[in-house]
Amino acid sequence: MTGGILIYAEVTKQSFVHTVFFELANKAHELSLKLNNAPVMAVLFTKPEMLTEYKEGFTYSGIDKFFVFEDEKFENYNTETYANLIVNLVKEVEPEIFLIGATNQGRDLAPRISSKLGTGLTADCIELDINEKGLLAATRPTFGGQLMATILCKTKPQMATVRPKVFKPAIDIIKKDTEFIYKQVNPEDFINNVQLIKFIKEYENNLNELDSAEIIIAGGKGMKGEEGFKLLKELADILGGTVGASRGAVDLGYAPHNIQIGQTGKTVTPKLYIACAISGAIQHTVGITASDYIICINNDPNAPIFDISDTGIVGDVFEVLPKLIEILKNSKD
């Protein structure tokens, strides 16, 4: 068997299939149409009995063939074990294209696999297409987002990791009868050079809040401290949104690291992004430019954030925000 598009279905610590899988599935389906309906396949590692929980979602994700590795020990991700099993699967299935989410796990796993296969890997892509020669054209930001590069790969499979949240997920659009193929796992497949001792949870809930939020109120260094961030939280609560931060604010401890937005943080795609006292450094703005609408408040009329905003307010956040909160509260009563 040859050809087709393979995607990696990452299972999170909470035993969910990561949302990026559904985004990749949707994109893979679109690419497959340009490749004479090449099959879309996926690979998953899971504890036994979990698959039934995922199956419902999989029927809508347009996967033709699902390769499943099942074992108790797949409770925790292990780079070497997963990479070796996937390398063997790729050699057997010979996909043209292999896509992995650019999550912490995906960015750890993908280069391990591509190097073993001696094939090319394009990291952290934000656009994928098939060019006139039928090759995968993978586009990614480089130089801190100041330059976009479209990259091609001479070898097969053409591999890419893809940023979460840049493609729309496949939901209720592509229904297929998915064939589930269970792959054999042997005791010697498990490599124990790296062992997880324990996981310490640091952040409770807002891991996925930024991913799914329609409205994000983000603050920068100019919010001056945790007090300033309370204002943002108050506004976010009224509007039904969530709070994000620049690295300037995170580095000073005004906000936790896991809500940092930008090159070394999250990419977000809300309907509305309000940047409060953020200067608009390129490393920040690469993470937000795909937002539908951007409003900024900054007291420096020359701040670069104005160049990428739809509406810019030259003003003091400590005047504008309390007033906005007040009007919104009054209009609710």
Binding site: N104, R107, D108, A110, P111, R112, I113, S115, K116, G118, T119, L121, T122, A123, D124, A137, P141, T142, F143, G144, M148, A149, T150, I151, K154, T155, I191, N193, V194, Q195, L196, I197, I200, K201, E202, E214, I215, L239, N258, Q263, K271, L272, A281, T289, Y293, I294, P301, D307, I308, D310, T311, G312, I313, V314, G315, D316, E319, V320, L324, E326
Partner: protein
């Protein structure tokens, strides 16, 4: 403890300028040590302080990169290796990983750990570290916040994830990709700088590595850039000066209503 440290010289991305034809202006852009590698170097120095041993710093790049190696040697690193050859030019992460792993095997085959930065600010691929580990067939841990303890051939490290940290036990030899951390990196002291002047930087070329020309540089790279362009932003850029008028809140409220995210 034998530590191989990998560092990269990168263009200062905060200093990027465009030519009139929308291409990157490469001349006159300053080269700096990749900011993440500063922390990998600091981690190596701290390990050496606690556990003793020897650090060898490797970089693949043009001959000018030896100045950067000198700066790192001045911090207390023992040996420097410059992996350089015209034929290495244009390497993607796979070819880079292949070349660096071959150089480590050649110069420091008995290493205990390899330290890399988590990513480099020019490409930001975060691939080179895992690629080196994969080709040397040793375990890797990425997103390492701290290396906590070493006992014999077991190392405990803390890995940072989105929602928390993992405490991980690893068998050496192993490779770690180090995140930027809170600690203040060391600065070179005068005797360090003097000592560094007398260290002979070892140069490794293609011939030394036993690889063929087809395995390195642009020829040995499975990926290539077919197009590079400046990102376009489609935003409206309406600017309202509300310092005197104080109307900022009203304008925002109207916009929010207009775009229909809040009723």
């Amino acid at each position: 403890m034998k530590i191989a440290l990998c560092v990269k010289q990168v263009p200062d991305t905060s200093d990027i300028k465009w030519t009139e034809n929308n291409t990157l202006q490469r001349e006159g852009v300053e080269s700096i040590l990749n900011p993440y590698d500063v922390y990998a170097a600091e981690t190596a120095l701290r390990l050496k302080k606690t556990y003793g041993g020897e650090i060898t710093v490797f970089t693949m790049g043009p001959s000018q990169a030896s100045n950067m190696l000198r700066d790192i040697l001045a911090l207390g690193v023992d040996n420097g290796v410059l992996i350089t050859d015209k034929k290495f030019a244009g390497a993607d992460t796979y070819a880079t990983g292949k070349t660096i792993s071959a150089a480590i095997k050649k110069v420091m085959p008995d290493f205990d750990i390899i330290l890399c930065g988590q990513f480099a600010i020019d490409g930001d691929t975060a691939q080179t570290g895992p690629c080196i580990a994969s080709l040397l067939n040793i375990p890797q841990v990425t997103y390492v916040k701290t290396i906590d303890e070493i006992k014999g051939n077991i190392i405990n490290v803390t890995k940072q994830l989105d929602d928390g940290v993992e405490i991980i036990k690893v068998h050496t030899p192993a490779l770690f990709c180090i995140l930027k951390s809170e600690f203040e990196p060391s600065r070179a002291l005068i005797n360090g700088i003097i000592k560094a002047q007398n260290i002979q930087i070892k140069t490794v070329t293609l011939e030394d590595l036993g690889l063929s020309t087809d395995e390195v540089g642009i020829k040995g790279s499975p990926t290539y850039v077919s197009k590079a362009f400046r990102p376009e932003f489609k935003h409206l850029k309406e600017k309202h000066n509300c310092v005197e008028t104080g109307t900022g809140a009203e304008i925002i409220l109207n916009k929010i209503k207009e775009i229909g995210v809040y009723k």
